[in-house]
């Protein structure tokens, strides 16, 4: 027994984690990991002690985790467990068992298996908070103690865990929409997202968000479009049901950009087969919608506006001229993204891989 020991190493990979260091906004995942371990440990304890309705006093204080280091390579925060003053650590206790149960559940979800029988189903909801900030191309590899590897926790495995016993899940959401109702007494509003359901969804407000929301309310929900970020609740078909919280609401700087984009995509959607002098497949409706969503989301970044075209194969191609670079991103009919960036001065070209993430496109456009 000792007074400190490695508890877990969470290797963060992909997207924002491929650069040196660890983005500050993702540090919340370390705190949420601890909360998940605490929650699973509590659920396991109560199952093993059915005569109890609460855990013993001081139960949660027994898990003291400290961030000891962030190892090189991909961001690998090392979490060390420290014993409560005056005590020593057990090698195996409620919290190491909870940690291992979490790993086993994630490993099962990785292979499309249900959580192991021993995992308390009432604790699955706790995965809502952990990994909420993960982007589609990012993962957290859970390594217990000093293990060299572990299962990968992604937005996809998170969703599988949450939906294994539940019908909804939470996810961070950012989008463009319009405010249609505001309730000052109930501190709530309704938001219709541009790429969301046609019916506005409810959203809670607080002291910070109430003012900006009230300012953009106009009759029939026809106020200016806003950029809204928060935590959304989705059903198993990934449809937005409501917001559980709103982080930020801000009027778009250039609302006419949305109108211009939508007009152009409507134009492409109206093309007929043979539109290119007898060649040319009509642009696929799903491709148009995907381009509509991604390119609108891209408008929230500080990047140039795209020129948008149809491709003869039924795709949509967005093009940009950024300094000496000509860049294109093609929304292919098969759902993939294909990107090319060419430096006109040197002739150098690259074809970067892109995930379904406007942040990646924005990064591609930030060439000097």
């Amino acid at each position: 027994m000792m007074d400190r020991a490695p508890f877990a190493r969470l290797r963060l990979t992909g997207g924002r984690f491929d650069d040196q260091g660890m983005p500050v906004e993702t540090l919340v995942e370390l705190a949420q990991y601890r909360e998940l371990v605490l929650g699973v440990a509590r659920a396991q304890f109560l199952r093993e002690h059915p005569e109890r309705q609460r855990v013993p006093r001081g139960f949660f204080d027994r898990l003291q985790l400290r961030l000891r280091a962030v190892e090189d390579g991909s961001a690998v925060p090392v979490l060390e467990r420290v014993a409560f003053p005056g005590t020593l650590l057990d090698v195996d206790d409620d919290f190491t068992r909870a940690r291992d149960a979490i790993e086993d559940a994630v490993a099962a979800a990785e292979t499309d298996q249900p959580p192991p029988n021993g995992f308390p189903p009432e604790a699955l909801v706790l995965f809502n908070r952990f990994g909420q900030t993960l982007r589609p191309d990012e993962a957290i590899e859970l390594r217990r103690g000093s293990a060299a590897t572990g299962p990968r926790y992604t937005a996809d495995t998170r969703r599988k865990l949450l939906l294994s016993k539940r019908r909804t899940y939470q996810e961070e959401l950012q989008g463009i929409g319009w405010i249609s109702e505001v309730d000052g007494n109930g501190m709530s509003c309704r938001i219709r997202l541009r790429m969301g359901p046609a019916t506005p969804v409810p959203a809670p407000l607080d002291e910070v968000t109430f003012g900006p929301v009230k300012d953009v309310l106009e009759p029939n929900g026809e106020g200016p479009p806003v950029r809204v970020s928060g935590v959304g609740v989705f059903d198993s078909a990934q449809r937005l049901i409501r917001f559980d919280s709103i982080h930020d609401v801000a009027v778009l700087d250039d609302p006419e950009d949305i109108v211009n984009l939508d007009d152009r995509l409507d134009e492409l959607a109206s093309l007929k087969a043979g539109w290119l002098d007898g060649e040319g497949v009509r642009p696929d409706a799903l491709v148009i919608e995907r381009a509509r969503r991604m390119l609108a989301d891209l408008l929230t970044f500080e990047v140039p506006r795209p020129r948008v075209f149809a491709t003869p194969e039924g795709g949509v191609q967005a093009e940009w001229t950024v300094g000496e670079h000509e860049i294109s991103v093609t929304f292919e009919p098969d759902g993939r993204l294909y990107a090319v960036s060419v430096n006109l001065a040197s002739g150098d070209a690259e074809e970067p891989e892109l995930a379904d993430d406007p942040a990646q496109i924005a990064q591609l456009l930030r060439v000097s």
Partner: protein, 116 residues
């Protein structure tokens, strides 16, 4: 080369106008500046070939060579000024890149007809 209305946005042609389509089988058709004027090319494309166009852009033989491509004369019965830029044997990434290089040159030159 001509650019149809679907391949113009904000007055700029798509890079797709500078690469062959599937039916071209790797050979991008062009009108040779040594045999026809920009206006003549526009009229020929729209009124003789009955294709759509909103204007004529151009690249020089030297610019084509600089992009690593070869260009050839290929007169046809209905297009005496016809030629092509040869993209045959290139992979997708190379085609896309070279099309963008040609676009850059053409944009720098500006639309030749109708004059801006």
């Amino acid at each position: 080369m001509p650019a149809g209305p679907s391949w113009i946005a904000d007055g700029v042609p798509s890079s797709q106008a500078f690469k062959p389509t599937k039916k071209d089988e790797g050979m991008l058709s062009v009108a040779l500046g040594s045999k026809i004027t920009p206006e003549g090319a526009f009229v020929h494309h729209t009124q003789v070939l009955k294709c759509e166009s909103v204007g004529t852009w151009a690249v020089s033989v030297a610019e084509t060579t600089e992009a690593g491509l070869r260009s050839y004369e290929q007169p046809l019965d209905d297009s005496p000024a016809h030629g092509f830029i040869d993209f045959r044997g290139l992979g997708r990434g190379q085609i896309e890149a070279k099309a963008k290089l040609l676009l850059g040159k053409a944009r720098h030159r500006g639309r030749l007809y109708p004059p801006p």
